[in-house]
Amino acid sequence: MKKTYLSILVDNHEGVLTRLSSLFCQRGFNIDSLTVSATDDETLSRITITTTGGEEEIKQIINQTKKLHEYEGIFEIDPTDSLIRELLLVKIAVDESNRSSLLEIASIYKAKIIDISVGSMVFEITGKPAKLDSYLDSLKPYTILEMCRSGATALQRGEVKMTK
């Protein structure tokens, strides 16, 4: 079971996200993360889905997606030749004893402090999903009050442009 990133172009219609997620649910495909965003073409949206499955399953997901009437393009993103990024916001309980070590970890991972209060700090970090995983690993000894990950979003490197 490998992690696969699918970039899907769909018509920017109401209900298209429901239609796509309903398809995944109906066929028993797993969605690990999902992002929807505008594109340079206002008639299109780009949905980036992270999913796990065997090769046959991914092929089936792609073929089923192509049958959607609002489908305009699908692209399996090759992680070795792509830019995959995710945003993480994490709120951690702080006091005198751990503040400096948290700042040290943040500086190693290039995480930014975006909010600070007497008992908490919020860090923001952008990067490959694996980098975020590793940052969260380093935070295990601390108390995470809340966190939020955006889900992966991705573009192919170079001049290639995914079109209809």
């Binding site: 429901t18 239609r19 109906q26 092929k59 089936q60 073929n63 089923q64 192509k66 009437h69």
Partner: protein
């Protein structure tokens, strides 16, 4: 010209040569029905007893005529009552356009009276669906609906129209009839290479499904079978594509398929699958399907490739186009040894007649004889359906309508109504069981109202025969809820509806009743008493192979 939404709907139907619609009125579609009243010289509306019946009628109409079936229902319960009919059409790839009314846009999302989000409900059972938000979108959406329903692999499309849209006025310009985006292109593996595999085969078998019927590729298929001398088997959806008595036709495949077909596929060295999706009723054990064979799969729908059974070669395209090109590449062959071997696989399932009941095979034989080669048969779902598939003398694909994929009990009466209206046949034969018939027998009132000569033959074994058969075989004869102690008097109920009823206990009585019925031009019910212990055989249990065939 300026027209209101309901008039635009009527005009788009007329553009698309729709002269027949099925449905049921209600609050949210009052404007639409007012337009149907206005356009009644061009569009005939048939009102059923229940929206489910209307949806099956649109389906039966489509299957029997090859045209797109149209059904109209009101919002809320009207719309939800269509769901089973839409799902039935979706599973069997039947072109249908379902129009539902909805509450006005101003009331949407407020849990208004008879409001339901039917677009959400039908998302997984339609090829696509639309909610019309503004009047300007109405005509283009309806046209797309007709196009989508018939393009590529056919299927149902739903258009939900809020009531204010049906009254709003806009400019309407007639447009030509929508035609299918014909997906005739061929994609996939090299056809010449595939032809070579077939030409070199010693034990080839063709296995085909409903797509051959949908793309009118039956004649081409026959040509290939004769030229390359290949035996063929089919799914229940493709019954009648080949004549039942064609020597190369091994009958249907799968759970209740013929022994010879199942064994031939199991022993084949090359299996060419045309327009079938390897459902679990055919490829019961997908990993062991035709285990010795090189598998070739031809289908219009790319997502069917390797979905259930992994194949060695595939071609994506319309069956007619692909078979047309393939035919040129195939060599004339003789497979006498293979046919001789296949003949050793044949096995008759013995059955006994007489007593106080009629054997299902006798019923199907008499039906085939009295109905003749133009007889149009519509089934419900269960044992009677399998007997009809096994024993009727199938000669034309469009003459056998059955809910294959969804297995919808209650499909038959509505579908028979649609088929009779669509074809204008002197008679349509609705084969049903006492279980299925009780689900939608209310449509008798529709058949009576419109004087439709539909003969319903009810195989009454006072049981849900197929459920009971499984309980006999796999559940130690623990007959949970499969022996309803019903006291229905079919003759009286038929008469109560204004139809004619017969009840028969012997083959002679049945023949006499049927011969009388075909002289009438009214709906007729014929009850046939069938032994409750009668099972559909042969049978391969779910997940099984030819090694697991149950013969008696």
């Amino acid at each position: 010209m300026k027209l209101n939404g309901s008039q635009i709907l009527a005009n788009v139907l007329i553009e698309n040569e729709v002269d027949t619609v099925f449905g049921y009125p209600g609050g949210a579609v009052l404007n639409i029905y007012d337009a149907l009243y206005e356009y009644q010289d061009k569009i005939t509306h048939y009102m059923t007893a229940h929206e489910q019946g209307a949806s099956h009628a649109a389906d039966g109409y489509a299957r029997a005529t090859g045209k797109t079936g149209v059904v109209i229902a009101t919002s809320g319960p009207g719309a939800t009552n269509l769901v089973t009919g839409i799902a039935t059409a979706y599973m069997d790839s039947v072109p249908m356009v379902a129009i539902t009314g909805n509450v006005p846009n101003s009331l949407i999302g407020r849990d208004s009276f008879q409001e339901v989000y039917i677009a959400g409900i039908t998302m997984p059972i339609t090829k696509h669906n639309f909610v019309v938000r503004k009047i300007e979108d109405l005509a283009p959406i309806l046209r797309s609906a007709f196009k989508i329903a018939i393009s590529g692999r056919p299927g149902p499309v739903l258009v939900d129209i809020p009531k204010d849209i049906t009254a709003a006025v806009t400019e309407y310009e007639p447009q030509p009839k929508q035609v299918a985006d014909k997906r005739s292109y061929i994609d996939g593996d090299n056809l010449a290479e595939i032809a070579k595999v077939i030409n070199n085969a010693k034990k080839p078998v063709i296995f085909f499904g409903g797509g051959v019927k949908n793309s009118n590729a039956g004649e081409l298929l026959k040509k290939i079978i004769e030229k390359a001398n290949i035996p063929a088997t089919h799914t229940i959806m493709a019954a009648g594509v080949l004549r039942y008595d064609m020597p190369e036709n091994l009958g249907f495949l799968g759970m209740h398929g013929s022994v010879v077909a199942n064994k031939a596929v199991d022993d084949a060295d090359v299996v060419i699958t045309v327009a079938s999706r390897f459902s679990d009723r055919v490829a019961l054990a997908p990993n062991k399907f035709a285990k010795k064979a090189t598998l070739i799969h031809i289908d219009i729908d790319q997502s069917e490739i390797d979905k259930n059974v992994k194949t060695d070669y595939h071609i994506i395209g319309n069956a007619e186009t692909v078979l047309g090109e393939l035919e040129n590449l195939l060599e004339e062959k003789k497979h006498d040894d293979w046919f001789a071997e296949i003949n050793t696989f044949r096995r008759d399932i013995p059955y006994s007649v007489g007593g106080n009941t009629i054997h299902p095979k006798e019923i199907m034989d008499i039906l085939s004889e009295v109905a003749g080669e133009d007889g149009l048969f519509v089934t419900d779902v269960g044992q009677h359906q399998m007997w009809a598939a096994q024993y009727l003398h199938h000669v034309k694909a469009e003459n056998f309508l059955t809910s294959g994929g969804l297995g919808t009990m209650g499909y038959g009466y509505g579908a028979a109504i649609g088929a009779q209206i669509g074809t204008g046949r002197s008679h349509v034969f609705h084969i049903t069981g006492d279980g299925s018939f009780h689900m939608n027998m209310n449509e008798a009132c529709t058949a009576v109202t419109y004087k439709l000569p539909i003969i319903s033959i009810c195989l009454n074994n006072e049981a849900l025969g197929m459920v009971r058969q499984w309980q006999t075989t796999f559940y130690g004869k623990r007959y949970a809820s499969s022996e309803p102690d019903r006291k229905t008097d079919y003759v009286k109920v038929a008469e109560g509806f204004g139809a004619k009823g017969y009840s028969c206990r012997t083959a002679e009585e049945f023949r006499a009743a049927l011969e009388e019925a075909v002289k009438l031009d009214t709906p007729v019910w014929i009850e046939c008493i069938v032994d409750r212990e009668e099972r559909v055989l042969p049978m391969i249990p779910g997940g099984g192979t030819v090694d697991d065939i149950i013969y008696n």
